[in-house]
Amino acid sequence: MKVWKTFCFELAYQTRRRSTWLYFAAVLGLTLQVGTEAFLGNARTGGYFFNGPFTTAAVSVIGSMFALLVAAAIAGDAATRDMQTRMEPLLYTTPISKAAHLGGRFLGAFAMSALLLAAVPIGLIVAARLPGIEAELIAPFRPAVYLNAYTVCTLPNAFVTTAILFALAALTRRSIASYIGAAILFLLPTFGNEFIAKHLGKWELAQQLDPFGFTVMSALSRAWTPAQKGSQLLALEGILLTNRLLWLGIAVGVLALTYAGFRFAHHTPRTFMPRWLRRSRPAAALSPNEEQSTTPIAVPAVERRFGFGTRVRQMLVITRRSFREIVLSWGAIALAVVVLFLVAAGPELMEHIGIPLHPVTERILAHLAGPGDLPGFMAIFLMVFYAGEVIWRERDAGMSVIADATPVPDWVPFTGKLLGLTLVLVLLQALMMGGGLLTQIRLGHHDFEVGLYLIVLFGIYLSGYLLFTALAVAVHVIVNQKYVGHLVVILAYALTAYASDLGIEHNLLIYGSDPGWDYSDMSGFGPHLAPVLWFKLYWGGWALLFAVVAKLLWPRGTSRGMKERLRLGRGRVSTPARWSLAAAAGVIVLVGSFVFYNTNVLHAYAPSDDLTARRARYEQRHGRYDGVPQPRRTATSLHIELEPARGEADIRGTYDLVNKTAAPIDAIHLATAREVETDGIQFNRPFAPRLVDKQLGHRIYTLKEPLQPGDSLRMQFRVRFRPRGFTNGGVNDRVASNGTHFEGDWLPAIGYQPDRELSNAGERKLHGLPARPPLPRLEDARGRNDETRGERIAFEAVIGTAANETAVAPGTLRRTWRAQGRHYFHYATDTPIRPGFAIFSADYAVHRARWRDVDIEVLHHRGHPWNVERIVKGVQASLESFTKDLGPYPHQQIRLVEAPGSSIGLRSHPINIRFFEGFALLNSSTDDRNVDFPFAVVAHEVAHQWWGNQLTPANVEGAALLSESLSWYSAMNAVDQTYGPEHLGRFLDILREAYLHPRGRADVPLLRADDWFVGYRKGPFAMYALREYVGEKQVTLALRRLMDKHRNGTAPLPTTLDLYAELKAVTPEPLRYLLVDLFEVNTFWELSTKAATAEPASGGAWRVTLNVAAKKVAVNTEGAETVRPMNDLIEIGVFAAEGKPLYLRQHRIKPGQQTVTVTVPGKPARAGIDPRNILIDTVWRDNTVEVTTGK
């Protein structure tokens, strides 16, 4: 059979190639590295088997993605080899059929890819046997695990990618097409996972769009329990099955197209450019009897120059040619995609959970145009491919023999090509800037910060891309084999992009990296530019070194062997080259030393592993002091001198401590903070230091005379924040001009801090720490009686800051004054507060309002005025609602204070609620869902002034329910009271979108809730359900009782059991089952309406028949589901066309499908079960359906 013969030949041909084995080694190495660095850590912290199905499948998927380059080389070669070797006239004239030729070639390439990818399971099997892995992470060897991943992930992926890449190369007859295709295929899952799934929340679409199943794995990693990850094989069902079928279908379709479009014929190159863009003229018809000139050759003797000016001219000519070749070929598509992306997706992406954001330039730059976004990927891919294309242009065209013999020094083509690539990047950045500005215009934002665009796009981002370009060019010159060069460049990129996953964290070791930077509308770049510049300069030195090496080894003529090229290169070392080498070495050594001095001498360099180890050592060394009786703080007094311009703070403080225990205390334990220098510890009675562990931050001071019960002690200290130079992670910018913001955790804390211990079970095991639950159990009596949480202090602070800034601390502003060109503020509390506080200083605009006798202040950045009115409205409505429901607000003022930072997150310190700039950018007025989101968020934060700052939950399981869920519940009441129930319904719909993100239903019951989802979503939903069933008044009564019992923060601190008892007390017996389902058991309702039909009844009424399905399941933490018996009261609703309810009443619903018939007074449009989505149902949009009307 000819197919078989072609297939065998193809396979044999590929196995004989050295690059094939190089690829195999690369995939193997990558698997080992990714497996042992990233996935082993995940398995350890996740608590599942490293060699289980999840890791195996995930690494297989990543392996398929990284093997794309290999697949592109193999498929591209299989499809175009005849063209490249000019064999096609010989081959195409043989009597082989198209099907046999293409089929054999394709199958050979596919088999080769599939065989190469066997490196993944081999690598993983080896990785699981490496020494140093905890035995608990390794399950007994199961061949089925590897077979499962290979058949479900690897083989389909190899088929799909080989088919698409083969088709691209076969149809265009250019192997570059398969590389471009590989780049796009590589981008698809990344783009889908990051943008469509994580950013837009369209997980299902993203999972389908992903040819590799990467997003499916990403979803599984969120949905599966550790037990499932460690043992459950991937089943070909659901979305994984449809994904596989979809892409296999696409692959087969593409192959069919290839068969149809491929011709055994001489290929005339075609360009994809539209006709009007092509510069070609129709071929001049050469008349056969064209005048044969017989005059002798007379080439005019013209002057030729070889001076420096000529060299520059020549270089520019090469630059222009390289640039044109790129932008007039496939590069144009990449550039067009970037522009389309920015224009189309820009407005879409300027949002937070669907709420539009004001598109300030900082957002555009961070969210649209950065190296991690599509345009950034494009820049890298353009350079990966075109560095090779440009370097190889003459040789690919067969012109190098002529070009190499022209009287041009090596540096001219080298620099010209580098400049050509640079121009492409400049064009890309210019397009991004245009796209960004266009997005701002479209969104009605007219504050164009052109300077900021220029600095970020053409300064920071461009320099990063240029460093990479220099590396890519050097690699191509040195490697001197085009496709191996591409491979090395991509590996080099992957190595830098995933360095931390590979265990490399120091930026002096990751080519082109820097500590990162932040830009804030408030504080600008702060101290971040300098370290970035130093690192860029350091890597610039390396780039120069690479450039010189590349120039010396510049391929010219026919020298192939490395030895010969090195010899030639030595001969080319000229004076300028020598100087450049010296300069490069100088920069590397001098700047490198300076950077090293900053990162490792001025600061202790601490990679993340070290930080984990430090926490373990803290526990090992000082854990024995846990629970040692310590005095309580009753007052804190601070004198803070801020130097925002220098980024420094000097804090002198005094604590008043009282022994509230029944026994004398003879030693004070202090926990100091890492970021600051703590010294000057003094007590107002004789003392001696017993232990000062600066590294781990624990100190013990012995009191000469023990502190008797009831006695008090005054302690003084000095804390200085003086960042010197920069660290590997940049500069700590907590104190900065127009943007100082730090919290009380800089001050020494009293006693051993169990919070600083490692809590992850796997990490504890790794560091030899005894196993313990991550949070104390709900029933843990010690947690209830630990009064430090409920501590109340009198707080006073004098803050000096820059003359133009306003400093903020908790309490009443007693006095402000100016001295020595500085601005001083004196704050003091009238009522004791919880010790969690924050200090702010910036040039704030202050908006003042009042609610009864409470002063409301919004201190915000002058350029962020948008949400001030909504904030004030939220605060006023909240205070009104919460003082009525929960008791008085204990302070005379409440402030919302803006701090630099792009996130949305707010934090409710006593009196002062911090919001980041991201929150200020929320633009709810353009949200067509018509929800006042900022109002609701502010209400939530104000509610924390009760839930958290008055009622302080014990540090045990379920604390999140008491603070976060109850705050949301109170906020819902505020929304309801201000805007009405429909608005609340729309707001809850936004919260429900969290269900769209993949998440397993396995969890603890709400009473033990401690993660984000249960605290911020499921908890509030449960409280809302209770409110709708039991009544708002009853629930509020229960909460008021709970608050009254615990508002003063004394032990025993409340737990969810106290809440549960109060809720039980107000819930009538027939609804107790609901209470159990909502709080005691992790229950989910599965409600849906299959069909609803209506027929007219007498008197304009309609009889509506609903076919509904119902089920109630409990899911335990392992993911096991149990069906719960049900006879629940659930609303049945029928609605008229414009949404007006015609019928809304509770029915008794049993499990399974059932028919409900109701008669309604008007013509129905929609009907269904639980139409208001009161119950916990993760698939909530199928609760109602359109009503079909009979005649």
Binding site: A284, I297, R304, I402, A405, P409, T558
Partner: protein, 316 residues
């Protein structure tokens, strides 16, 4: 600046490829102004020699001197006076002839726009590409492409012109024109023409060398070499079946089919029986040299030594 006479001197040039192929073995040649033919079969080492002279390949040992210039070290200087038409080359298929020639003109140091325009027009007209100057090179025929290569090689009035197998892709008319063009250039420059077609050399070259397996077998003036052979080449037409016997008895240098029978040339100092004398041509010189018959070799050796003596005298 004292300029040595324009002449290319190659001394003891050797090159062995990594696969063991000895491409050049101790090659020494002196090439004066004028057309110089390098004749040899495929794989003789011609292209290696040409590439080495064209600064594109490093020899293992030996030296090349062009006038004052050390070709192996002063590559950039040599390239300023070099025109090179390789045996095989490609073009950017998407460029037009005019644009690409302009590009090369800049690379060859013709920076003034007006000069460049003038030179390009002249060259394109001379190579009969003027009409097709806007056409993409990808659509050029083999001959047109070859002529384009000539135009590039002639840019900047080279003093050293190296053309490697230039006539291979040309039709007969083009070939004649091209060779004429080369010989005109030879009036002022060193022109090295490598070929395996004997007529290319016999028609134009004032001097020539025959190279095989990396060695120079003969260096001579074509006319004198032919003269030397006069009276030593004999021909006879035989049946194909008799050829084997004939080859055992005589020094056969070439055979050619002629109307179903075989025309045999043999080398002999004296008239062999049954043969007619024949007026020798360069092809006979080539085949005698290639076949390396002892007697023939002696004649060649004499000639070569004489030549060398004369040339050495000139140089010293």
């Amino acid at each position: 600046m004292a300029t040595a006479p324009l002449e290319l001197r190659i001394e003891n040039l050797s090159k062995t490829y990594t696969n063991g192929l000895k491409a050049l073995q101790n090659v020494s040649l002196t090439i004066p102004r004028g057309m110089y033919g390098l004749l040899g079969p495929n794989g003789a080492g011609k292209s290696t020699l040409m590439r080495t002279i064209a600064t594109l390949q490093e020899p293992d040992s030996g030296a090349i001197q062009l006038g004052d210039l050390d070709v192996l070290r002063q590559k950039d200087e040599v390239r300023k006076t070099l025109g090179y038409l390789p045996q095989e080359f490609g073009v950017y298929p998407k460029s037009s002839a005019e644009a690409l020639l302009d590009y090369f003109a800049v690379l060859k140091g013709i920076t003034a726009r007006g000069d460049r325009k003038q030179v390009i027009e002249a060259l394109l007209r001379q190579t009969n590409l003027w009409e097709a100057r806007k056409q993409k090179l990808g659509g050029y025929s083999g001959g047109m492409r070859q002529r384009f290569g000539v135009a590039v090689a002639l840019l900047g009035n080279p003093k050293l012109l190296i053309v490697d197998e230039p006539t291979a892709g040309l039709d007969p008319a083009e070939r004649v024109r091209f060779l004429n063009l080369l010989s005109e250039l030879g009036e002022n420059s060193v022109v090295i023409l490598s070929t395996h077609i004997v007529e290319d050399v016999s028609e134009l070259c004032t001097r020539m060398a025959i190279i095989d397996k990396g060695r120079i077998l003969l260096e001579a003036e074509p006319l004198r070499a032919v003269d030397e052979l006069r009276g030593r080449i004999w021909k006879r037409v035989v049946e194909k079946s008799d050829l084997a016997a004939l080859e055992r008895q005589h020094a056969v240098i070439s055979t050619r089919l002629l109307a179903g029978r075989t025309l045999v040339h043999v080398y002999s100092e004296t008239a062999p029986t049954g043969f007619e004398p024949v007026e020798p041509d360069l092809e006979d010189v080539y085949f005698c040299t290639m076949n390396g018959h002892v007697a023939n070799g002696a004649a060649v050796q004499t000639l070569t030594r004489t030549e060398l003596r004369r040339l050495n005298g000139v140089a010293s």
